[in-house]
Symmetry: C3
Subunit: 210 residues, 3 copies
C-alpha cells in the first residue's frame, strides 16, 4: 500500500497482518459480549478489520481493497477461530491485543493517507481519510452492536491518527524524505495512543445545556 | 439480472416482485412496531427492499440498480399501502410472507452473485456480494430502528446465501451448465431457510469471557 | 451548485453557509446531550452537515462534494467552537437555529435535485436524491448517537423536501423557467416546514398489529 523500499515490505506485511488480526479480534469479542452467533461475530470482525478502508475506498471512487486480495478475510476467519477456541484466555492477552491494535491503527492511518494522496487529493482530505481508515471500522462495529461508539466518548483513538497525519503533512512541507515522514507519523501515532491509555488522557467532554 | 433464456424471464420477474414486496413488508411492519410514521415506514421498507443491492452496487462501482427502474419503489409503495389498509390481517399471512421472503433471499443472492461475476471479480467476492444482496437490507432496517440486527443473533438467514453461493461455485467448477447451477443454488437456499426455521436450527452462539 | 445568474451566487453562498452551520450545530448539540467528547461532537456535526450530500454523491458515482472544498469542514469547526464557547446560550437561539436549518433543508434539497438531473437521471431519482441530501445527515447523526431517527417518528422534515421536489418537477413539466421553478420549490419547502412546526402537523403513525 505504501511506496517504500523492498526492505520494508516484509515488515509492513507482518504489521498489516497483526493489525488486521487485532482489529478483527476486537469486533468478535464485542460480538461475543452481546451473545451474537458465529455469523454475527464474523461480520463484526470483518466490519472492524476492513470497514474503515472500505468507506475510504468508496469515497475515493476506487475498488474496495479487500476485493482484490483474500488475505483480509482469511485473517478475520483465523481471528474467529482463535476467539472460539481460546475464549477463556483472551482477557489475559489484553496487553497484546492493545499493542497489535495500536500498530494497526498507525499503519492503516498512514496507508489511508498515502492512498488518498496518490489519488491526487489535498493533504487535509488525506488526513481525514487516514483517520477514517483507522477508526471508522470500530464505529461501524458499535453501530451494528447497537452501542454508542466508544471512540466518541472515552478514548483517545482517532485523535492519534489526526495528529500523526498533521505531523506527516508538516514534515513533507518542510522537505523531509517521504520514508522518514511516514515512519515518524507511524511512531507518533503509536506513542500518542500508548501514552493516552497509560496516563488516562482523554478529550474534554462537551458541556450540556441543562 | 441473470443471463437466462427468455422462457425464464417472466417467472424471474414474478419472483423478483414477490421478493421485493415481502422484503418491503418486513421493513414496514418492523417500523409499525416502533410507532414510526408513514414516511419512516416507507424508508424502512425501501431499506430492506433495496438496501443490500445498493451496498453491493456501490462496492462494485456501478449505478445502484433501483435508479434505473422505478419498479422497486413502486413495489415498496404498494407494500406500504397494503400494510396501512390490512394492518390487522398481516399476522395471519405470516407463512405467506415467510415464503415470499425466502424466494426473495434466494433470488437476490443468485442475482448478486451473477452481477459480481459479470463485473470480473473472483468467486469468493461474488459469494460475499450475493450474501450482502440478500441480507444487508435487513441489517440496515435494524440499525435504523435502533435494534440489534436479528440475523446476528437468532436466524439462519445469511448462512443459506453463503452455502448456496458455495454450491454454485462448486457446480461451475465441476463444469455444470450455468442455468442448472443457478437453479440448484436457488433451490438450495430456499430449502436451507425453510428447514432451519422448521427444525429451529441455529448457529452456535459465541461464548462470553466472564 | 446551481446554474443561476451571477446575481444570485452571493446570496446562495450565504444561505449555504448558514444552513451548513445550523446543520452542524444540530449534530454537536445532540452529541453534547449524550456527553460525547470534542471529537465525537465534531464527527456528529460533520455527519449532519455533509452526510446527506456524501451519500448522494456516492450513489451518483461522483467525488463527494466536501472533498473539493474545505469550506464545509471549516464551517463545522466554527460551529464546534460556537457550541463550546456559548453552550449556555444555545437554547435561547432555538428559533434562529430552526430558521437557518430550514433554509439549509430547502437549499440542499434543491441543490441535490439539480445535481442529480445534471448527472442525467430521471426526475423521480432526483426527488429522492434531493430528499436524501436534505435529510440523511440527521439520520446518520441519530444512528451514531444510538437514537431512533427523529424524522421517522415525529417531524415533517423529509416530506417538505419531497413536496418541494414534486412541485419543481410539475413546474418544469409545465414549461416554467428553471430559475422560477427553483425559487418556488425553495420557498415551498421553507413554508411547509415552518407551517408544520407552527401548527403541529405530523404524518399519521403506522398502526401496530397487536
Amino acid at each position: 500500500m505504501m511506496p517504500t523500499e523492498d526492505i520494508y515490505q516484509p515488515l509492513l506485511n507482518v504489521i498489516e497482518f497483526l493489525g488486521t488480526f487485532a482489529f478483527a479480534i476486537s469486533g468478535i469479542r464485542h460480538a461475543a459480549a452481546k451473545r451474537f452467533d458465529w455469523f454475527g461475530g464474523f461480520v463484526c470482525g470483518v466490519a472492524v478489520a476492513i470497514g474503515g478502508g472500505t468507506l475510504r475506498d468508496i469515497m475515493l471512487g476506487v475498488t474496495p481493497f479487500w476485493m482484490t486480495s483474500s488475505i483480509y478475510l482469511i485473517c478475520t476467519f483465523m481471528a474467529q477461530m482463535f476467539v472460539i477456541v481460546f475464549a477463556r484466555s483472551l482477557k489475559s492477552l489484553d496487553n497484546t491485543w492493545f499493542f497489535f491494535d495500536t500498530l494497526g491503527l498507525a499503519l492503516f492511518t498512514v496507508a489511508g493517507l498515502q492512498k488518498t494522496l496518490d489519488c491526487g487529493h489535498a493533504f487535509w482530505v488525506a488526513i481525514i481519510m487516514g483517520t477514517i481508515t483507522g477508526s471508522a471500522g470500530g464505529v461501524i462495529r458499535d453501530v451494528l452492536l447497537n452501542n454508542v461508539p466508544v471512540i466518541f466518548q472515552k478514548e483517545i483513538y482517532a485523535m492519534a491518527s489526526i495528529i500523526g497525519g498533521l505531523a506527516y503533512w508538516a514534515l513533507v512541507e518542510l522537505g523531509c524524505d517521504m520514508t522518514i515522514s511516514v515512519i515518524t507519523a507511524f511512531l507518533l501515532i503509536v506513542a500518542i495512543r500508548i501514552l493516552a491509555v497509560k496516563y488516562h488522557i482523554s478529550l474534554p467532554v462537551l458541556r450540556g445545556e441543562e
